[in-house]
Each structure stands twice: as C-alpha cells, then as structure tokens.
Amino acid sequence: MIVTQFLVLAAALFALGVFGLLARRNAVMVLLAVELMLNAVNLNLVAFEAVIRDVLASGQVFAIFVITVAAAEVGVGLSIVLMIFRNRTSANVDELDLMKW
C-alpha cells in the first residue's frame, strides 16, 4: 500500500488549515481552520496505522483522542467566541487587540 497519496492529501489539508488560521478574519472560520489542521493530522495517523501496524499499534487510538480533544476545544472555543460576539457585536479577530501594549 502506498502511503504517499494520504500524506499529500493531509499536507494539503494542513496547509489549507494554516492559511485559514492566519488569513480569515471571522473567529468561527478560524476555529474551523483549526479543525481542518487537526483532521489533517488524524489522516496521517490513520494512514500510518494502516501501513506500519506492526510497529505503530496505536494510530487509530490517537486519532480518536484527537477527535475527542478537538470536540472539547470547539466547545470551549465556540462559547468564548459567542461571549465575545455578545459583548462587542463582532467576531472579527482583528478587532480583538485588548492584549496589545
């Protein structure tokens, strides 16, 4: 089985995620980009699990972990975004510069 196609797909997804993370202005879209990056990693884990199962016995388990953590992260992140939106009537991350000098 050739693993290269999976890796390329995962890298593309990850790159898309990074771009979305850095370029999007809407906080919800930023969170979505983060999910994209996490799933790219999941793809890698599952692919390597399929190829080298004898050596790496727990790739699928890690993938499940990542999905769980991602769900938790989205839960926390979305509630933060919701609160910010309620307080400032905006979810634009460029306007969230309270922490600047």
């Binding site: 990074v18 993370l21 850095l22 991350v93 460029d94 510069d97 922490m99 600047k100 000098w101």
Partner: protein, 673 residues
C-alpha cells in the same frame, strides 16, 4: 577534700571533751539552712500562703534546735571541733570553708538561732501586708545565715565572707522601703561606714596571715600561745586593725554614726540587728581573737577598753534627747556594746560575752515592743505616743521588763551581766572606767524611764485608736520577757559559772580572773546609779507626761543642741570626710567628662561625619546610584522599544509561530537528514 580535726584539751575541762561525732560533722547544715531557705524563698516564696515567711521561720527553728543540742553538749561535756573543706586551690594556697564548734561559737549559734526564731515569728505579724514580704524574708534569712557563716568560720577568709554578707543583708534591709530617699541614704551610710572599717579587718587579717603563714584562726592563736616572735612583731598592729573592723560592725566610736540611721529599716530588722546578727559581730571578732589581745597586744587591748568606755559614755547622752523611740534604743545599743567592748578590753572575756548574751534577749524584747507600738500608732515618735499602758497591756509589761533588765535592776538579766562588767573594771584596777560605767548605768536608767513614761504614761497624743498587737507579735514579746528574767541565772559570781565555763571552753585557754563573790562596790554603785536614774527620770518626765506640749524638760541651753546634733559628728564627717573626698572626685569626673570624654566623642563624631560625607558624595551618589540608575534607564528604554512587538493580534503571533516552526523544520532537515 581535706579534713582537719583539731582538738586540744582546754584548761577547764580536761576529760570528756567531745571532738567528733555525726552531730558535729553535720553541723554545717545549721549554717547553710538559712541560706538554703533564702534561695527557696526567692524562687518559690511568692506562691506560699505566708509569702515565704514560713520557710524562714522553719530554717530558724532548725538552727535553734540544732544549736540547742550543740549548746547542751558544749555545756555538759564541752566541744572542741574544727572541720575545713577545701573549696578552691590557687597554687599552694587553698581557700577553705568549714565550721568551728567550741564554747564561743556554740553560744553564738544558740543566740542567733533563738533570737532569730523569735524575731522571725514576730515579723510574720509585723510585715503582714507589707510591700515586699518575700524580699524581706529572703534578705532576713540571708542576714541570719551570713552571721552563722561568720561565727562558724575556722579561717579569717570565711569570716570576712560572712562579715561582708552581713553587711550586704543589712544594707538591703535598712533600705527596705527604698521608695523613700532617706531610707536609701541610711542604707548607703551604714554600708559605707562599715566598708571603711572593713578595710581594717581585711588588712589585719592579711597581716596576721603573712606573719603566721595561715588564715586559720586556731593556727594563728596557737602561735599566740606559742609566743611566736614573727607574730609578736606585728601583733599590736594587727590587733588595732581588727579593732577598727570590729568597731565598724559593733558601732563603736568613731563608727557608731550608722547605727541610729539604720533605724530606717523595719523594726524586726532593728531587733535582729541589735540583738544577734550584726552589731555582735565586732564583739565576737575581738572575743575570738582575745588571746591575741591578752597575750601579745596589751596596748591594743587598752585601746579596746578606751574605745568601749568612750562610746558607752557619749552614746547614752544622745539617747536622752531622741524623740524617735527606736533611736533611743539604738543609742542604748551603742552604749551597751561599749560596755561589752570595754569589758573585753579590761580582760573580762566572759563578762563581755555574758552581757552580749543577756543584752540580746532584752534588746530584742525592747525593739519588738517598740515595733508593736509603732505597728499600731504608725509613728516612731514618742511625741505621738503616751498613755498606751492600758491600751496595750502585754506590750507595756514586757517593755517594762525589758527596760528594767537594761537598767540592771535585780533579778533581771542586765543586773547580773552589767554587774559582772563593772566588777571586772574594779578588779582590774580601772577605777575611772568603773566610774564611766556607773555613769553610763545612770544615764541608761534615765533615758529608759523617759522612754517608758513618754510612751506608756500620760495621755495619748496621736491619732487613731491604738489596740493590742496580734498574738503572733505578743507571743515573742512574752517569750523574750521570760528570757530577760531567767537567761542570766546561769552565771552568778560564787554560785554558778555555767556561762563562763561554756564560752571559755576553747582550743586556746582563756586566762581570766574569776570573781568568787559579788563585788559590793561595783554592785552597790551600779544599782544605786540605776535606781537614781529611774527616780530622776520619774521626777522629770512623769508629771509632764500628762501635758500636751513640752514633754522634754531637760532643754538645757548649749548642751541640748549639742546632743540633738549628735555632737556634730555627722556634720563633721560630712564636711571633713564626705565632702573633701566626694567633691574632688566629682570635680575630676566632671573635668574628665568635659575635657576628655567629650573631646573623644566629638572627634569620633566629626570623623564619622567626614567619612560619611565622602562616602555619600563620591561613592554612594556617583558610584552606586549611577550604576543602579543606568541599569534601570537601559531597561526602561529597551522595554519602550520592544513593547511594540505586542500588537495584541493573535493571528500575527500565530504567523510568527508558524514561521518559527517552519524554520525549525528546515534546521532539522538540514542537520539530521
């Protein structure tokens, strides 16, 4: 530990003298018991129901009991015992502590113990509710304990230790009410006058020790008996020096001035001081070294008699003019001590000690009686008293017994002892001293009848409602009154000589003339003088005692002011000794303070200030401050630039993070792949 047992057969009791035994080996307990009691009182006294008084009384009861057994043995069999324990060795020189038990010291043990016990019990009542009861009983125990250390001393060093401890305790007790400046001054005066006289004792002890090669008293006195030429060369000097020391403690002229002022202390202190512990020390010292005076220093012995005779004459007159009842008794003590010292000087060893013995009982009685009155009246002055005869019957009757004993009316104690002293003067051929002694007896009768009449007869002049003192105070009075009646009948010329045999029972034989019968000249003149004094006192003071003012009718011009100012001796000492010594010292100290110390202090201050200025300007301001300021300025400036990196935009941070991660990946690939 060296154990030196010394026993020699005395001339009196050749056989059956006790020289060893557990009773004597443990007699050191008798000496330390009051000192142990003192420490217990200091540490635990405040928690006890009587605030420590019961410990002091218990210690004195133990001393009395032990001393009574020793005295019984000394009288019936005779004791000659000496034991010394080495305390410290400095090279070949050893300091020893020990105890001597012979006739003289066992007599003193019993005297100190018994009078101490009675006075301590009395003090339980007298000091009740006082500001410092615990302190008082601690110092009181020290007083008695120090006296026992003194009289039990087998060597001169221990004697000096006890001597000085007595001085310290007396200082503490005289200045007991130290809130009042006058009392503190009285304590200081007693201490300093004694200290001046103590120089004589210390030098005398050193002179003796150098000549004999030992501080041991018995060894010194053995040299006297052995007629050692080294000792004979210095005996006169040493004897005079010891006399000076003894005159200080026993309040003999010219050192008597401290004793009347010592009345500032509580009355039980006066009673103990005058009867047993302090003033007897000087008499004891001369008696202890009696062989030295008698066999090697006849001129010094004459000086002893002269001092005593002079003191007994001048002190009596002073007692006539005092209004303070305790001062009357104080001057009376000075005079009676004069009798004892003069008797020792005339060669009447047991006569002097016999008067010490009887005087202790009736003088303690008189002081305690006076204290009983003072306790009720709250005043020392006889001008506030009068008419107390019916209000305080026990005090009155016991005081009268004490007064008659002091005057020397038969059959009371003072009669026999004073008669013995006068007989000694007569027998030794000192008729002039006999005359002074008879004159002194007359004066004694005069001032004692004055004291009794002004205190107990006439009308009451004070305020408040006098009443009899509590039982704890009257019981000691009754005990001492019984003593004043009966204590003297152990020595009657030609009948019994228990006391003489007792106190002459020493390692060195005491040579003295023993009267086989009453000396009718001495007896008659002494008795007539006493009765004459009483009659004169009655005539002068009795009728007048009823009137309010002018109770003293003997206000003779010139003479009265002279006596009232104590022969101007205090002023003489003040102007002649205290001022010439104190003022130059004060001036010198002031000068050194102004000139030397101030200069040094100012110089030190100036140098410090100059150094401080240099350090401040050059080092602190320009060095340390510059370094700290530079660091903080640099930090501030750098921070001012760098803070603009904090934009607060999360995506910028993430971008930097991604670039960093990519850079790390590149480095990783380049290095490891």
């Amino acid at each position: 530990m060296t154990l030196a047992l010394l026993a020699q057969e005395s001339g009196h009791q050749a056989a059956g003298v006790v020289t060893s035994g557990a009773l004597l080996d443990w007699a050191g307990l008798l000496v330390v018991a009051p000192l142990v009691a003192m420490f217990l009182i200091i540490f635990f006294g405040k928690r006890l129901p009587l605030q420590g008084g019961e410990l002091a009384v218990a210690a004195m009861a133990f001393v009395t009991g032990y001393a009574a057994i020793l005295a019984y043995q000394a009288i019936t069999e005779g004791i000659l015992y000496e034991r010394s324990i080495e305390v410290a060795a400095i090279g070949g020189f050893t300091i020893q502590w020990g105890w001597v038990i012979d006739g003289l010291s066992s007599m003193m043990f019993l005297l100190v113990g018994f009078i101490g016990l009675v006075v301590f019990v009395y003090a339980l009542g007298y000091m009740k509710g006082d500001v410092r009861v615990t302190f008082f009983f601690a110092a009181f125990s020290l007083f008695a304990g120090a006296m026992l250390v003194l009289v039990s001393a087998p060597n001169v060093l221990q004697l000096i230790v006890g001597w000085e401890l007595v001085g310290v305790a007396s200082y503490l007790l005289i200045a007991h009410y130290w809130e009042d400046q006058a009392n503190v001054s009285a304590g200081n005066k007693a201490f300093l006058v004694n200290k001046i006289a103590d120089v004589g004792l210390v030098i005398g002890a050193i002179v003796l020790a150098v000549a004999v090669g030992s501080f041991n008293i018995n060894e010194i006195l053995d040299q006297v008996v052995g007629a050692s030429p080294e000792l004979a060369a210095v005996a006169g000097l040493a004897a005079i020096l010891l006399l000076i020391g003894g005159a200080g403690k026993s309040a003999q002229f010219p050192f008597h001035v401290w004793l009347p002022d010592a009345m500032a202390g509580p009355t039980p202190v006066s009673a103990l001081m005058h009867a047993a512990t302090m003033v007897t020390a000087g008499v004891y010292l001369v008696a202890r070294f009696f062989p030295l005076y008698q066999q090697m220093a006849e001129n010094a012995q004459l000086a002893v008699m002269a001092v005593g005779a002079f003191t007994l004459t001048i002190a009596g007159f002073l007692a006539i003019v005092q209004d303070d009842i305790k001062r009357v008794l104080a001057y009376s003590t000075v005079a009676q001590l004069g009798y004892m010292v003069a008797a020792l000087g005339a060669g009447g060893y047991s006569a002097g000690l016999f008067h010490l013995w009887t005087h202790a009982s009736f003088k303690a009685l008189l002081f305690l009686g006076a204290g009983s009155v003072i306790h009720v009246i709250h005043s020392n002055n006889m001008s506030d008293m009068g008419g107390l005869r019916r209000l305080m019957p026990t005090t009155f009757w016991t005081f009268v017994v004490g007064s008659l004993a002091l005057i020397g009316i038969p059959p009371l104690a003072g009669f026999l002892s004073k008669d013995e002293i006068l007989a000694t003067f007569n027998a030794e051929g000192y008729q002039f001293v006999l005359f002074l002694g008879v004159l002194g007896a007359f004066i004694t009768a005069l001032y004692m009848s004055r004291a009794v009449l002004l205190t107990f007869f006439g009308t009451y002049k004070g305020h408040g409602h006098p009443h009899e003192s509590p039982r704890v105070m009257t019981l000691p009075l009754i005990v001492l009154a019984a003593g004043a009646v009966g204590i003297a009948w152990i020595n009657v010329p030609g009948v019994v000589s228990v006391f003489s045999d007792w106190v002459t029972d020493r390692a060195q034989p005491i040579v003295e003339h023993h009267a086989e019968a009453f000396d009718l000249v001495a007896l008659g003149s002494g008795l007539l003088a006493g009765l004459g004094g009483i009659i004169l006192g009655y005539l002068i003071y009795y009728r007048d005692a009823a009137s309010q003012q002018e109770r003293d009718r003997l206000r003779i011009p010139v003479l009265w002011p002279l006596l009232e100012n104590k022969y101007y001796l205090d002023d003489l000492y003040w102007l002649g000794i205290v001022r010439p010594i104190r003022d130059p010292i004060a001036r010198a100290v002031n000068w050194s303070n102004d000139s030397i110390i101030d200069w040094v202090v100012n110089l030190a201050g100036f140098v410090t200030a100059a150094v401080g200025r240099v350090v401040y300007g050059g080092f602190d301001q320009r060095g340390i401050d510059l370094a700290f300021n530079g660091v903080s300025f640099a930090t501030d400036a750098l921070g001012g630039r760098l803070r603009f990196a904090q934009t607060g935009r999360v995506q910028q941070y993430l971008g930097a993070f991604v670039i960093g991660a990519l850079a790390l990946v590149v480095v990783f690939v380049l290095v490891f792949a």
